[in-house]
């Protein structure tokens, strides 16, 4: 039996189960915390750092998607410090890749683009990194354009946790990190990929898309995911 704990988020009294994360409890109480790498139905990894919150008495910021609630916790989600860091994080995501919204397949439906609007980023103060990144069109139906990848690892997790294929993984280190298929071979040659398209649809940006889609033409469908997870857990 799970234990109910009471805590405060932004000075509002709330309650949750002790096995829930700060993000879970905040959402149950309609308190918005921005997220990018988190997706309902997948495990949480705290990769994007956008859900950072302040917890009274802790000397570091914590990711709301991975840290569990506790009795008497006092959480703050909208401090000036957090707002500043969120803008900085979004700017860093933009500056380290090649995000050209106007010619992107998901222009108008991109989570990075809408997050920029949400946290108030209207220009990038950091210098652009302009990396030379690769694009793999060898798969029969899909494309991976690493220029648009923000390393959220949703594709890696959905392929491993839901599809059970584990075609995707991370290769390289630091600023050179990038998503790879199998042992960094061409996607079209993959013996593990089932062609299920789950990675394409969970991708928050235009990094993964269906062939034949032009600018603004790619819509992602993620409704299946919480449903699949829920039905499996019931079993």
């Amino acid at each position: 039996m799970s234990v109910v704990v009471t805590l405060k988020i932004n000075d509002i009294d709330v309650s949750g189960q002790e096995d829930e994360t700060i993000l879970d409890v905040a959402r149950e109480h309609d308190i918005y915390i921005p997220t990018m790498c988190h997706l309902d139905g997948l495990s949480s990894v705290g990769a994007c750092r956008l859900c950072l919150v302040e917890v009274k008495g802790m000397n570091r910021l914590v990711t709301a998607c991975t840290v569990k609630v506790a009795e008497g916790m006092e959480v703050y989600t909208e401090t000036e410090r957090l707002k500043k860091y969120r803008r900085m994080l979004v700017e860093m995501l933009f500056s380290e890749g090649n995000h050209i919204c106007s010619v992107c397949v998901v222009n108008g439906r991109c989570e990075l683009q809408s997050m920029a609007g949400r946290v108030g980023v209207q220009h990038i103060t950091l210098p652009y990194y302009n990396p030379l990144r690769t694009l793999d069109t060898t798969h029969e139906r899909f494309v991976i354009d690493r220029n648009r990848c923000i390393l959220c690892t949703r594709c890696v997790r959905v392929c491993d946790e839901i599809e059970g294929a584990h075609t995707w993984d991370l290769g390289g280190r630091g600023i050179e990190s990038h998503v790879v298929t199998d042992l960094n071979t061409f996607w079209g040659d993959s013996p593990t990929c089932t062609g299920c398209s789950k990675c394409v649809h969970v991708c928050p940006t235009g990094a993964l898309f269906e062939k034949g889609r032009s600018v603004t033409e790619m819509t992602k469908h993620r409704e299946f995911l919480p449903y699949l997870t829920m039905m499996r857990e019931k079993k």
């Binding site: 050209i100 919204c101 222009n107 209207q122 652009y128």
Partner: protein, 179 residues
């Protein structure tokens, strides 16, 4: 007593002119604007030299060549407010897609590898390309950012109206990258 009209200008750096087209799309409100402001320099009017003391300059395009760089520095020195108009000015946008590849690669592709009759990389008259395409604010101070490709006519009219009324426009709800 005569009331002084505000002096506004627009310049066109490395962009497709779509932002200027969008500005023209404010249609009949151009007449209202003409009552309170003079367009003292623009690709849309016939003035050869960028004048002194401009209140607001709308800048379309990224900074991609030595000419762009000279122009924008001159414009900055003679404008009270500079508006980065559109994604090329704000982010580098499509012109900046050459940045990861470098200037040599794209010049060779465009002028030597296209099967032209007299293939040569232009070196006279045309300005030299900079090694990296940059957004305007990477080179000079920018006062207002208007993302969009292009920003809607509504948005541009709002920006100019607010600035002429002495207010800094709040665009957080109005536009975004790639609109």
């Amino acid at each position: 007593m005569t009331t002084q009209k505000a002096r506004i200008a627009t310049i066109w750096l490395d962009g497709c002119s779509g932002c200027h087209m969008s500005f023209l799309d404010i249609d009949e409100r151009l007449l209202a604007l003409a009552k309170v402001a003079d367009l003292v320099y623009s690709p849309l009017v016939d003035h050869k030299k960028f004048p002194e003391d401009v209140a607001v300059t709308l800048v379309e395009g990224s900074v991609s060549s030595t000419e762009d760089l000279e122009k924008i520095k001159h414009v900055r020195a003679h404008s009270k407010f500079i508006v980065s108009m559109g994604d090329c000015a704000v982010t580098g946008n499509v012109p900046s897609m050459r940045n990861p590849l470098g200037v040599d690669v794209i010049l060779r592709r465009a002028y030597l590898e296209e099967g032209l009759e007299n293939p040569q990389i232009p070196s006279l008259v045309v300005p030299k390309l900079l090694p990296l395409v940059k957004p305007v604010h990477a080179v000079v101070k920018v006062d207002v950012y208007v993302p969009g490709c292009p920003p809607h006519a509504e948005t541009l009219f709002y920006v100019v109206s607010e600035l002429l009324a002495g207010r800094l426009p709040d665009l957080t709800k109005m536009t975004r990258f790639g609109v």
